[in-house]
């Protein structure tokens, strides 16, 4: 017992001060992709060709746009660009309510962030949101970094958000994976088992667009074609801070 106490004291207080204090992301962290207009040459397709998931949308006579819902946040486009016009900044706040809002615009600053739930939903879930997680083809990357929110580092419970064991106890689903054909029925049954009103949160490139498995006949290109999504959290996998930021904005906590 004395060893347990001694170890406990040595381990110290480990919960991050966020949202009271900002968090430092690793210097090599790949947050929002940014295209430098000054360096980007129009009508060049090199970055779009290098992208593994066709996340880069080419626009005639304009700089390309990047669909964060497809983006794997890899280094392929940045490496391919001969002018070094693509880089990632450290902004981890990437979530959006609408699928189309995940596409970067010419003026990145104006991009909408997450709107909180509507008044009635917010009254119900704002201080207590119970989620059932369903992995539907996820590779255990997104699952791991959702799971990590319940560790003492992030302590999700302090925000009134909790993952529950049964859909019957849940206010909504948090879904990872491209929704494989073999999981589609199980996902829809789980959705039916959640009492209304309920919400859907899609976490990761797979759940949003199919990710690396996009257009495979074995998958459904994400959850959007099957269920109404309230929050999209992009990444491959999203950093825990990206997920936490999305959840807290949805609940108007930040």
């Amino acid at each position: 017992m004395i060893d347990i106490l001694r170890t406990r004291i040595k381990q110290g207080h480990r919960t991050i001060a966020y949202p009271m204090q900002a968090v430092n992301m690793p210097d090599r962290f790949r947050g929002r992709p940014v295209i430098d207009s000054a360096k980007c040459v129009t009508d060049c397709k090199i970055c779009a060709d290098a992208c593994p998931t066709n996340a880069i949308i080419q626009i005639q006579n304009d700089k390309p746009q990047i669909d964060l819902g497809r983006c794997l946040f890899c280094t392929d486009c940045a490496e391919a660009c001969p002018n070094g016009a693509i880089r990632y900044d450290s902004d981890y706040r990437l979530s959006a309510n609408q699928r189309e809002d995940l596409v970067t615009t010419a003026n990145d600053e104006a991009r909408p962030l997450v709107d909180a739930l509507k008044k009635e939903s917010l009254r119900l879930f704002g201080h207590s949101l119970k989620l059932r997680q369903v992995s539907a083809g996820g590779c255990n990357g997104c699952e791991s970094d959702v799971n990590v929110l319940s560790t003492i580092t992030y302590d999700l419970g302090r925000f009134g958000i909790q993952f529950v064991a049964s859909p019957r106890h849940a206010d909504g689903l948090l879904i990872t994976g491209p929704v494989t054909e073999n999981m589609r029925t199980a996902l829809l049954k789980t959705w039916d088992a959640v009492p209304t009103p309920k919400i859907v949160i899609a976490v990761g490139a797979c759940a949003i667009s199919g990710g690396p498995f996009i257009d495979h006949p074995e998958v459904n290109n994400g959850v959007g074609n099957l269920l109404p999504v309230d929050l999209y959290i992009p990444g491959c996998p999203p950093h825990p801070m990206t997920i936490l930021d999305g959840l807290l904005r949805l609940l108007a906590r930040i």
């Binding site: 090599r28 998931t53 999981m183 498995f213």
Partner: protein
């Protein structure tokens, strides 16, 4: 080198497909059975169409003590005598052959689909249904035990925690489990099929997400394939950084699993400490490459990210702190009688059973079997810097926990040595196009065990076939064996002690 009707190669050494002998079916069968009896294990057993009508089966038999990989092949007819009754290791491989190619291993004791995927051929053999049906994994025949007070418990695919989907069917008498059957396939995403025709822009990303908690392991296996086919020698510094990343991945996952094992027996101090410390190791991976799971760290020809002295310094300070915190946290486990009582004698697998069903990796080492790709089939920096193999003999949950702890300590000292004396060289080299008409086998000791990739190229130097065998493919059956005569309430503990991948199995 061809001898006795087979070709022997090393890990990561390409060979001409034309040089692989085509044996008569009975000789092929006999050679596999004999090799396994003599101590080899089946690293791969898969089929590739030779032409529209002909199917050729290839076997890769790994002989650990000599470090050689024996290749043999045969023309596979629509039905053939099953290997499984004489060689239990072939069980899942034969079920996979049947599912993917509509062939029938006659006499297989429990022939049913592995992933509930669609067959690669329209051709079906009598009795091989439902291989091309739209049946779902949980909806199939399960082995049943009949009798008074025998009941069946079905769990999954959606589980209570944040984990991947799988279906578990228990045959119980009261609390006691008489038999467990595991039905997977829910995670099938068509990875192997999508690899064919590659490499292309998406290929490495498919490999990185075969099992997202083993990104480094699977991606090294893939890079070794490409480098073998391009006859490239990776710069020494890249080799060392790869090994550091691989051992960090092992540390993170072992730490997480030990914490989860503590949680499953209700010992919360270690559970909560380890949950946090696992994150420190993931953050160290992010310090190297920007991503906690090592995405984009590796590329064929080397690594994408270098470290300077300042970064090494920061890495070392944070690393030592994490290892020190971890040591305190884990030692609490072994001192707590309530933990040891639940760990010891739970989910025992004997060494004989482990050998017979062909366990790999830490699950095998926890049954006293000395097997480790890093020692037996070393590549890269492991050829020069060895990590001695950690084993324990009791085969129970304790053994699987304790072997993890020994491995953590050895990986930690390996990382310490490597990061301080990184070779001075480039980190990446340009590669030439891949050689045509070759077969190459690549083995890596991932944190769960042996990862095996087998690639074949066509006349244009593109993948004509790509086989991925995650260690979970070998070990899921081990979990079923470990559950026999256990209480059903011990299932979460036994399951976590193996900590197998669903998506790595389902592909």
């Amino acid at each position: 080198m061809t001898q006795h009707g087979s070709t022997s190669i090393r890990n990561g050494e390409p060979c001409n497909i034309a040089d692989i002998p085509v044996l008569p079916l009975d000789v092929f069968r006999e050679q596999i059975i004999q090799a396994v009896k003599d101590g080899s294990w089946i690293a791969a057993l898969h089929a590739v169409p030779d032409s529209e009508t002909n199917l050729r089966a290839y076997a890769v038999l790994a002989h650990s003590s000599s470090g050689s990989l024996k290749l043999l092949s045969t023309q596979l007819p629509d039905s053939f005598e099953s290997l499984t009754p004489d060689c239990a290791q072939a069980n899942l491989f034969e079920r996979e052959l049947a599912e993917q190619w509509g062939v029938k291993p006659i006499g297989h004791p429990w022939l049913k689909p592995v992933r509930f995927q669609h067959s690669n051929r329209e051709k079906q053999v009598d009795g091989s249904q439902p291989f091309d049906s739209d049946k779902l994994p949980g909806v199939s025949d399960f082995f049943q035990i009949k009798g008074e007070e025998i009941h069946e418990v079905a769990v999954g695919p959606v589980h209570a925690g944040i984990i991947e989907p799988g279906h578990f069917r228990f045959q119980c008498h009261g609390e006691n489990v008489l038999h467990l059957e595991i039905a997977l396939g829910y995670q099938h995403r068509g990875v192997e099929r999508a690899m064919i025709g590659g490499p292309n822009a998406r290929t490495i990303h498919l490999v990185e997400t075969v099992a997202g908690d083993t990104t480094i392991g699977h991606t090294i296996a893939y890079c070794q394939i490409i480098e073998a086919l391009a006859r490239a020698n990776v710069p020494a510094r890249a080799s060392a950084l790869r090994a550091v990343s691989l051992e960090l991945e092992r540390l993170a996952n072992h730490t997480g699993d030990l914490g989860a094992l503590a949680g499953d027996v209700g010992f919360l101090p270690t559970a909560s400490f380890c949950g946090r410390i696992r994150g420190e190791f993931l953050n160290l991976t992010a310090l190297l490459c920007g991503n906690r799971f090592g995405r984009s760290m590796l590329c064929p020809g080397g690594v994408r990210f270098d470290v300077d002295n300042e970064r090494v310094q920061e890495f070392s300070v944070r690393f030592e702190k994490a290892v020190s915190d971890l040591t305190d946290s884990i030692n609490l486990l072994w001192q707590s009688p309530s933990v040891m009582d639940r760990f010891e004698d739970t989910g025992v697998i004997t060494t004989e059973d482990a050998n017979e069903i062909g366990l790999v990796g830490l699950a095998a080492r926890a049954c006293g079997i000395e097997t480790d790709i890093r020692t037996d089939f070393p590549t890269g920096i492991y050829r020069f810097s060895n990590i001695s193999t950690a084993t324990w003999h009791t085969g129970d949950v304790f053994s699987r926990a304790f072997v993890r702890w020994i491995e953590i300590q050895r990986s930690a000292s390996f990382i310490r040595d490597q990061i301080k004396s990184l070779p001075q060289s480039d980190i990446r080299m340009e590669l030439v196009p891949l050689e045509p008409n070759k077969l190459v086998v690549s083995l890596v000791e991932g944190w769960r065990g042996a990862i095996c990739h087998v690639a074949m190229t066509n006349s244009a130097g593109k993948f004509s076939h790509y086989k991925i065998i995650d260690p979970s493919f070998h070990n899921w059956f081990g979990l079923a064996v470990a559950m026999r005569d256990q209480q059903i309430s011990d299932f979460p503990l036994c399951n976590k002690s193996f900590s197998l991948s669903y998506c790595g199995h389902d592909l």
